[in-house]
């Protein structure tokens, strides 16, 4: 089977519905297909990565916690749009620290989240084979 560049664009708030959960389900399944997978968080989607969430108190699922497993599924590229963070008064320090073992660097423990400008992210979108928009 061919290898494609697949990007998941996450735009939904974490607890406004089950979109974040249903997006993550697709991401985890796609990892089994040995594809070049990346995630992008833009607009209100950046709230999905906020650390210190306690959604269990309102019966909602903690997706930020589920994202910690992404590295184990070989999902190593997690892009967060800088402008979306800034527009919401957030910075990288407010986000969960996702890690993976980098096969290109002797499996060194490496941060998965990369901040990216809106302009560069647009160019990155255009280089993908498949875009999923949740």
């Amino acid at each position: 089977m061919a290898t494609k560049k697949i990007m998941y664009i996450n735009r939904a708030t974490p607890h406004g519905g089950i979109t974040a959960k249903e997006s993550l389900d697709v991401v985890l399944i796609s990892a089994a297909f040995d594809q070049d997978v990346a995630l992008a968080f833009i607009d209100d989607g950046v709230y999905q990565l906020l650390k210190g969430q306690q959604p269990e108190k309102s019966g909602s699922r903690n997706v930020a916690k589920s994202f910690a497993a992404l590295g184990d599924y070989d999902v190593r590229k997690v892009y967060v749009e800088q402008e979306s963070l800034a527009e919401r008064g957030l910075s990288e320090a407010d986000l969960v620290d996702l890690r993976h073992e980098n096969p290109e660097d002797d499996y060194r423990d490496t941060a998965s989240i990369r901040l990216i400008s809106r302009e560069k992210l647009a160019r990155l979108f255009s280089r993908q084979d498949v875009l999923f928009n949740f």
């Binding site: 061919a2 249903e22 697709v26 594809q35 498949v130 999923f132």
Partner: protein, 129 residues
């Protein structure tokens, strides 16, 4: 060109299911092929045969059935999304002990792997909703 179609939104909340139908029909009439149509998230309710909108309203699930019959389309409904929203095949309902089932005959229930496979094997994934 071979397209894979992904539909995500509830037909009562968004025109996505109807737009995807028109796109798919137009693509087929123009000589393109459709690898698979995958219903996910709220769009899975399209596959229920127990929906009864008022008589003067269109039944988009039936329109998809007609198009699928004409062109031998594969209409696949995500099992996890369907079970969450009460869309059941006879086999799955029986397995979990439910008395009723409501999956339209022209649709099949399967996993998200079918969506990923379609996105990899087709030339383009076109997403609605």
């Amino acid at each position: 060109m071979q397209f894979a179609i992904l539909i995500k939104s509830d037909p009562n909340q968004s025109p996505a299911v109807r737009s995807a139908l028109m796109f798919t029909r137009a693509a087929l009439e123009a000589g393109h092929s459709i690898q698979r149509v995958f219903f996910y998230q709220g769009a899975v309710t399209t596959a229920s045969d127990m929906l009864s909108p008022p008589q003067n309203e269109e039944r988009v699930g039936e329109l998809w059935s007609e198009l699928a019959a004409k062109y031998e389309l594969e209409l696949v409904v995500c099992i996890a999304a369907a079970q969450r929203r009460g869309v059941w095949s006879e086999a799955e309902a029986g397995r979990l002990g439910y008395k009723a089932h409501n999956l339209r005959a022209d649709y099949s229930i399967s996993g998200l792997g079918q969506l990923i496979e379609a996105s990899i094997e087709s030339d383009r994934l076109v997403s609605f909703g």
